[in-house]
């Protein structure tokens, strides 16, 4: 089985690094993983896409991720300007960086299409501001993705973050990612109980 994730955000938000860190986390769990950017002329603020595949076997495929199992949306201002949900699998997972409830994001059609609980929001920018002091949501969102999909363990995400950002910056990113993991994991329990 191959797990495929697509990351959407804007230049400067670490979209490419997010996919790379996810691939490192999967590698640390002994899996094959492939991360790559959408190869645009990246500019601060412009829409950016990156991809990550995870598999137990060697990954030979070199096409972009067309039918993602998971979508990580690092910037909610993209929600209604870019076709973010193109090809999303019918049982796919979506995690959106927003302090709003999913019900308030204007995504009713998508919510209806996906299984209950497969679309979630987490205020990653706010968590980043609190822990890191800069609006960098990428590592934070990975914590949320780990809680939501279980495709990767939180400790692998933490190790990947530390590898990408050694020292104090790594510590603060780990704190923010762990907070996001807890928020999403708690949400998940709520969803299951009701």
């Amino acid at each position: 089985m191959m797990f495929q994730a697509r990351f959407h955000g804007r230049g400067g938000q670490g979209v490419v690094t997010a996919a790379e860190m996810l691939s490192v986390a999967a590698f640390l769990e002994g899996k094959h993983a492939q991360a790559f950017p959408s190869f645009g002329s990246e500019r601060m603020g412009a829409p950016v896409v990156s991809f990550c595949r995870i598999s137990d076997r060697e990954i030979r495929l070199r096409e972009p991720v067309l039918e993602p199992d998971a979508l990580v949306i690092q910037d909610p201002t993209l929600l209604h300007s870019v076709d973010l949900f193109s090809g999303l699998k019918s049982d796919g997972a979506v995690i959106i960086n927003s302090t709003k409830d999913v019900a308030d994001l204007g995504l009713d059609a998508l919510v209806e299409r996906l299984p209950a609980g497969n679309i979630r929001s987490v205020g990653a920018t706010e968590l980043a501001m609190k822990h890191i002091g800069r609006p960098l949501p990428n590592a934070v969102m990975l914590g949320g993705l780990a809680a939501m999909t279980g495709v990767i363990k939180l400790e692998s995400v933490i190790a990947a973050i530390r590898q990408a950002f050694p020292g104090a910056i790594g510590d603060s990113n780990v704190a923010a990612a762990t907070a996001a993991f807890e928020v999403v994991a708690a949400n998940k329990k709520d969803a299951v109980s009701c």
């Binding site: 790559f36 002329s41 896409v49 096409e63 067309l66």
Partner: protein, 417 residues
């Protein structure tokens, strides 16, 4: 050591393990991360005994490598696209003088229109410049080919270009086994030049050669590449005996046994093709593929042997010989001369257009009933092309083609996702 790392960074590490003595660097996307990585290795002291020279252009990069190599140093540089064209004169000089420089080519399209994305136009533009050209299928192979390239270059005293798909490989982060220094040292001995500029034993390199000897000098250049046809498989086997994995060689067949159709291609697209082959084999299609690793020298006999008895050959290539069709397809036809086999040219992936499994499989489904072999374009937007031809025919001052096509397509990123 197994690590999850960027292709460019792994190539930089591999080149560092080969103990280059001079690295000439000039940045150009998508190759830049490689020379940046090497710069870090030199500055941090991990790569000792190496002079890292920042130059002012690609022409200077290769010219300095030529000087360094002629003075007896193991020399390396890297470039892409317009950078290769800008150094074209020096590219011919390096091979004409018989200097064993290794250069990475991060394959990228050539403008105009300007395009930073991957295809093989740059490598094809200088295919006849006398360099050996090897194409990497994966980042692991990119690493391994560089180690083989220095040895091949130095045995023959002939420059080698290692072609690595820009972005698709250079910017992909994946699992790569970066070899240990001791193993590389066991495989690659110190450079022992066949010619060297040495004040104690002066020679002149680069004499003018007139009609009386030019043909002979060229013939000897060709002879070196013919020797490479034997050496490349030998080095690949020796590499395997030391490092324990397959890399390089002339050609690599995949599931070709009993095949009616074989897809021929170079570089990273072979990964996608193999996935398509597996799907189609499972559905009962007798199909396989052949990856060409050595484009120069071109292994005519091996290609001919691998394609024996196959009904249809689809040559997928990431470059277009405008006014002809496919470069690789023409080579494959030469390999098959005298045989009545259908060779289809399929141009794909120009300027970074993704080569999709779905599109490739659809083409392979219709190829059986397709009588016209030349020349097909994968995922060509016919409506756009026809509208532009019609529009341009309506008025003399129809304006620039690229800009008019863009008007109908929208954002340059449209269709990438």
């Amino acid at each position: 050591m197994l690590k999850q790392t960027e292709g460019s960074h792994a190539v930089a590490e591999a080149v560092g393990l080969c103990r280059p003595e001079v690295i000439c660097a000039y940045p150009i996307t998508p190759q830049t991360h490689i020379v940046e990585g090497l710069g870090e290795l030199v500055k941090s002291g991990h790569l000792k005994g190496c002079e890292y020279i920042n130059v002012e252009s690609e022409f200077a990069a290769l010219s300095v490598a030529i000087g360094a190599s002629a003075a007896g140093a193991r020399a390396y540089t890297a470039t892409s696209s317009q950078g290769l064209l800008f150094m074209a004169e020096a590219v011919y000089n390096a091979s004409g003088l018989g200097l064993p420089i290794v250069m990475t080519l991060g394959n990228r399209a050539i403008g105009a229109p300007i395009n930073i994305w991957n295809d093989h136009s740059d490598a094809m533009a200088l295919r006849d410049a006398g360099w050996i050209q090897l194409f990497a299928e994966t980042n692991q192979e990119a690493v391994d080919l560089h180690i083989q390239a220095f040895k091949l270059a130095e045995i023959l005293s002939c420059p080698v270009m290692v072609c690595v798909d820009g972005f698709i490989l250079t910017h992909a982060v994946e699992r790569i086994d970066v070899p240990e220094q001791e193993l590389v040292d066991a495989f690659l001995p110190p450079y022992e030049p066949v010619q060297v500029l040495d004040p104690k034993d002066p020679v002149s390199i680069g004499a003018m050669v007139g009609p009386e000897a030019f043909t002979e000098v060229r013939y000897l250049e060709h002879h070196k590449q013919m020797r490479a046809l034997d050496l490349i498989p030998e080095l690949s086997a020796e590499f395997k005996s030391i490092f324990g994995r397959d890399a390089g060689g002339l050609v690599r067949p995949y599931r070709t046994e009993g095949a009616d159709t074989i897809v021929v291609a170079m570089g990273s697209v072979n990964g996608t093709i193999k996935d398509v082959i597996d799907d189609r084999r499972e559905a009962g299609d007798k199909i396989g593929c052949l990856s060409i690793c050595s484009f120069r020298p071109f292994p005519l006999e091996e290609v001919r042997a691998e394609l024996l008895g196959v009904r249809r050959i689809v040559v997928l290539e990431k470059s277009l010989a405008v006014g002809l069709g496919g470069v690789l397809a023409s080579h494959v036809r030469m390999a098959l001369r005298g045989r009545n086999q259908l060779v289809y040219t399929l141009i794909a992936g120009l300027g970074g257009r993704p080569i999709l499994k779905k599109s490739l499989s659809a083409f392979l489904s219709k190829v059986e009933a397709e009588p016209h072999a030349d020349v097909h374009f994968l995922d060509l937007k016919n409506d756009i092309v026809e509208r532009e031809i019609e529009r341009a025919s309506q008025q003399r001052r129809s304006g620039p083609t690229a800009e008019n096509v863009l008007k109908h397509i929208g954002s340059p990123m449209a269709g990438l996702v």
